[in-house]
Amino acid sequence: MSESPNKEFYDLLNSVSVTETSDITLSDGKAYKFRQLTTNNLKDLIKSVVDSPLTQSIFNSTVARIMKESYAGESFGYEFSVIDRLLFVLGTRVASISPTIVLTKEDKTTVTVNIQDVITKLVSTLGTNSQAFANGSLSYNTISITYGVPTIAVESQLNDEIYKNAELDVQTPEQLRKLLGETFINEIAKSVNNVVVGDRSLDLSTVTFKSRLKTIETLPAYLISSVIQYIEQYKKLIEDNLVIEEGLSLPIDGSLFSLR
C-alpha cells in the first residue's frame, strides 16, 4: 500500500485512534481495561469465520492478538486463560458493537440474545464453581502432575507450532479420525502445567509443544483420564452458560462479530 505524503492526514489518523476503554471482568473477578475494537480488528475477527470448526485456531489466534493489542493496562504477560479470552470476546462484543445479537434458529425464526446477560451468568458460574476451574494436582506412583485451565500463551504455542502448518482440511474418514485424535490429545496437553517424576520436575511452559505432547503421551492412563474429567467438567459448565435455548447456543467464533 502506498503511503500518503500528507502529514495532516497522518495527524488525523493519530487523532482518531481508539483511546476509549471499557472495563471487562475476567475470570479472577477483577475488571481489566481494554480499548474498544478498531475497524481493522473487527475485519480480522469477521475474516476468522472461515476457520476449522474443530480447532478454531485462526479465531483463537486473532482474539489473542487483539486482546494483547487492546489491553490498556500496564503490561500484558499472556497469563490470561482461555476463559479470560472468552470473557474478553463477549465483553468486547458488547463494548465495541452492541449488547445484543440476533441468532437464527434452524426453523429460520430469530432470537435476540442479550450478551450482557450471558456474561453475568458466566461470571456467576465461575464464582460459584470456582473449584471446578481451579488448578489441581494428581499423583500416581512416583509421578505427579499439576493441571489447570490452559493459558492463552500455551494455546498460542499450540497454534503456532502445530495448527499453523497442519493440514486441517479433512477429506477422508481416516483423516478425520487422525485429526480428532490429535485435537483430543492437544486439548489434554494444553491443560497439564507441570510433571514431577521422583525428584525431577518439568515445567511444561518452558518446552516446545511437541515436547509437551511427548511427555503427555508417557503419562499413566489414570492421570490422563483424571485430566480429561477435569476438562470435561469445566467445559460443560462454560457451554451450559452459552446455551440460549434447546438446540441454540451463542456462537463463540467470527460470526459473533458479523454485522448480519
Partner: protein, 294 residues
Amino acid sequence: MRFKLKTNDKVVLCKELNVSLYKDLLKSTYGDEVDLPGFLDTIYDILVSLTGEPISFFQELSVVELLSCILQLRINTFGDRTKINLTKEEAKTSLELRIDWIIEDLNVIDKSIISKTIENENFDIHLEPPTTQRLIEKTDEDYLYFVGGVTIGDKLISIKTNTDAKLFVDKLPAKIALDIVKHFECVVKELQNFSFLDRYGIVEQNFTFVPSAESVLWFTKLVFNEPLDVFYDNLFYLAYLGHLQNSYIESCTPGEYMYFVRKLEAIQAQQRQSDETPNNSQVIGGREEAINDF
C-alpha cells in the same frame, strides 16, 4: 454565448459546446465497452475548454455534480427535453423526459440521501458523493468511496483517495465504522427506490441513479444520443452538398450544425420533388434523435 454552469460551491461561466468538442464527446461514448477513464478525461477536457477552469476543478467535483454539469451542457446545447421509450408488456409508449427535472432530483439525491455528517465526540465524519476520480480507483469496500472528509475542531481535512479512506476507517472504533456502513446501506436502498419517473406518475418502470462512473456514461449516452455514423454522414453531406468548410462546421454549435442539416434536408426534399433526375436523389441522414428504450 455563455451560460452559467452551477456546481454546489461555485457558478462558472461556460461557453456553448462546439461541433468539434461535440464530436469528441460522441466518440468518447461510442460502443458497448467504453474506456471509462478515457471517457471521463474527455468530459474534463471539454468542460475545461468551455469554462477555462483548471482540470482539477472538474476532477474534484462529485459524481453528482459532474453529471449535473453534463446535463446542464446538454440543456444549453439541444434543449431541456429528450424522448425515451417506455416498454410495458411489449407495448411502447414515448415519454418526453425533462432533463432539468433530473438535475433537480440529482440535487435532492446529493443533499438528502447521500450526504451526511456522522458526529462524534472529538471529530465529525463527512460522507458525500465521491468524485469520479475516486470511483475509477477500485476498492474492495464500496462504502469507502463515500468517506469524503473529517472535521476536527474547526479544521476540515479532505480524504481524497480510497487508500486514505481505508487507512482512516481502519483506525476508527468499530461502532463508528458500523455507522458508516449502515448509512451506505441506507443510501443504496433509497437510491434503488428513487425513480426519476415518479414525477410523471410512472411506477411500473424504474429510472434510477447509481453513483458510479458507469452511470455518468449511461446518462451521457442518454442525452447525447446522436449515432456517430449519422453524425459523420451529416458532416460529409454538409461539406459535399452544402459546400460548408469542415473547419467552419466544427466551430459552430451543435444547434447550428443541426440547423444546417435540417436546412439541407429540406432543400434536398424540395429538389427531389422538382427534379426527377436520379443522380440528385442523395438523402442526408437528418438528426432524428435516437430514442432510448426502457
